[in-house]
Amino acid sequence: MNLKNILLHSSALAILALGMSLVMLTNGIDLSVGSLVSLVSIVTAGLLGSKFGVLFAIFSGILTASFFGIFSGIIISRIKLPPFIVTLGTMVITASLALVLCGGETLYWEKNWFNTIALKYFFGVPILFCIVSIFFILIMLLIHYTSFGSYIYGIGSNEEALRLCGVKVKLYKTLVYLLSGCFASVAGIMLTSRIASGNPIIGMGYEFEAIAAAAIGGISFIGGKGNPAFAFLSAVTITMLTNGLGLMGFTTPWQYCGIGAILVFGMFLNRILAKVSLPER
């Protein structure tokens, strides 16, 4: 295996894990990212075939996912429904929409510069990973140097306290789901460019992988604890290990077992590290 490939292959999962870790820090969960990836793939690919141009297609893809992100966010923060249920709802709705929109067929377009995004390298680093890195740096800045960042942690550990301090909790919660939707759209666009076509099932299963990556990266399921940087790293590691299983000659059944073991072992390691670094309460 080589580094270039690992970076290229983990780009989509890494950015999804980044978005998922933000959502999980606010004590939420976003099950819809996987099907949003598929939906964005279909929307973008469909519009790439139109005469409006590439940028319009990309923009529409981002807009679509953002719409569903805001939709989930508003229901979660205003009507106060559990995030798990709301995003499960949007997950099945968007998965269905993706299939309906393309009629079960893959979509394609006349080759243009959009196809080359996934092929180009910037000083040996895949452009896709560069894009992901930019988002990563932005999120790190957001987390550490803005009030939004501390509110994200605050909402996760004590939402009520924050509300009583006059923080617009509902707004920030909605924004987090919007961000998660946006990141899903970035992942969707990257995958679309990679496979040079729109595929209605391309995002299948990514939501669970992103949640696993975030959890193994130390993001707590009850919010308020963890660093998205580790979620990002664990996404890259998981991709490396799971890809590696196949290439080391494990047959698919053994790969399944291997992934199960990797997840459990990753979580176990995470527990041990947490115990070593923090005194037990």
Partner: protein, 323 residues
């Protein structure tokens, strides 16, 4: 769960059924109604396990894979000529072992249920492929197939089994200490610990039961289909979760019941059946189910916060509190 929540769901089920019936009278045929029950039975058995696990505040993403693993191993055992009873016992034992491992990882190693059962999903799926060598095991004895295809007084066996399990687990949840402990642990695990409930034991048993029920569903599945395959059930966990949620069980635990889940399963089955009958493209199935999840939970939240006052439902509520 409050009575008006169940009524709300039951009303939705009836309205759905009437709407489909008006569009397509074939829906009302007795044979079709029995179909719905039979198709819902498998999902319902899984949903019982899922309800119990969700009541304790957990989740089980592994039930589909455990179903595949246990049914494949049982099928191999029967193929090799072992008696049917032995096959059945092996299958149930495997289901319980998988559930036990889930429970131990969740309670002792403190890995979140989501990740534990997600990992178990991969692990069990992998083992199912390994044991079956990826092939479909086909053809079983008549006596075994009876549990999937037989009828008693015209009622299909899967339906009888699911009703029986509903009865047993309703008693367990409502009338035994274990049932009360399940609700207590899911509602407030710290309080439960302080009054001396063995929280870990309750959780482990909940996962164990879910594994057991997955294996049980696997047996019925194998008997009904006359085949055991390692690929089956990838969509079962989400189907069961959706049905349980539509049935009104709270995803954070401690609230909900098996009747709600039964209605949830029926709502999902009726939708799919109706869409099949009306010839609506199946691409839309998930869309409808997703919308129903959001609509029903939103409605429930609103009626609960009493912003909308439905007279019938409210009077019921007061009645139920009189001693």
């Amino acid at each position: 769960m409050r009575r008006n929540d169940i009524l709300l769901r039951f009303a939705l089920l009836i309205i759905l059924a009437i709407l489909i019936f008006l569009v397509n009278p074939n829906f009302g045929k007795p044979a079709n109604l029995i179909n719905i029950l039979r198709q819902g039975a498998l999902l319902y058995i899984l949903a019982i396990g899922m309800t119990i696990v969700i009541l304790t505040g957990g989740i089980d993403l592994s039930n589909g894979a455990v179903l595949a693993l246990s049914s494949c191993v049982a099928a191999i055992a029967m193929e090799r000529g072992l008696p049917i009873m032995v096959g059945i016992i092996i299958s149930l034992a495997i289901g319980m072992i998988c559930g036990f491992v889930n429970g131990v990882l969740v309670t002792q190693v403190k890995i979140p249920p989501f990740i534990t059962t997600f990992a178990m999903m991969y692990f069990a799926r992998g083992l199912a492929y390994i044991f079956s060598h990826g092939r479909i095991i086909y053809g079983f004895e008549k006596s075994f197939r009876f549990i999937g295809t037989g009828n008693i007084f015209g009622i299909p066996m899967p339906v009888i089994f699911s009703l029986l399990l509903l009865f047993i687990f309703y008693i367990v949840l409502e009338y035994t200490s274990f049932g009360v402990n399940i609700y207590a642990v899911g509602s407030n695990s710290e309080s439960s610990r302080l009054v001396g409930i063995n929280v870990k034991k309750v959780r482990i048993i909940a996962y164990l039961l879910s594994g057991f029920l997955s294996a049980f569903a696997g047996l019925i599945y194998t008997a009904r289909l006359n085949a055991a395959e390692p690929v089956v059930g990838a969509s079962f966990p989400l189907d069961a979760i959706a049905a349980v949620i539509i049935g009104g069980t709270s995803i954070v635990g401690g609230e909900g019941n098996l009747f709600g889940s039964a209605i949830g399963v029926l709502i999902c089955t009726v939708i799919i059946n109706g869409m099949n009958l009306m010839g609506i493209s199946s691409l839309w199935q998930q869309f409808v189910i997703g919308s129903i999840i959001l609509i029903i939970i939103t409605t429930q939240t609103y009626t609960k916060s009493a912003k909308i006052n439905i007279p019938i439902l409210r009077s019921r509520k007061i009645e139920s509190f009189e001693k």
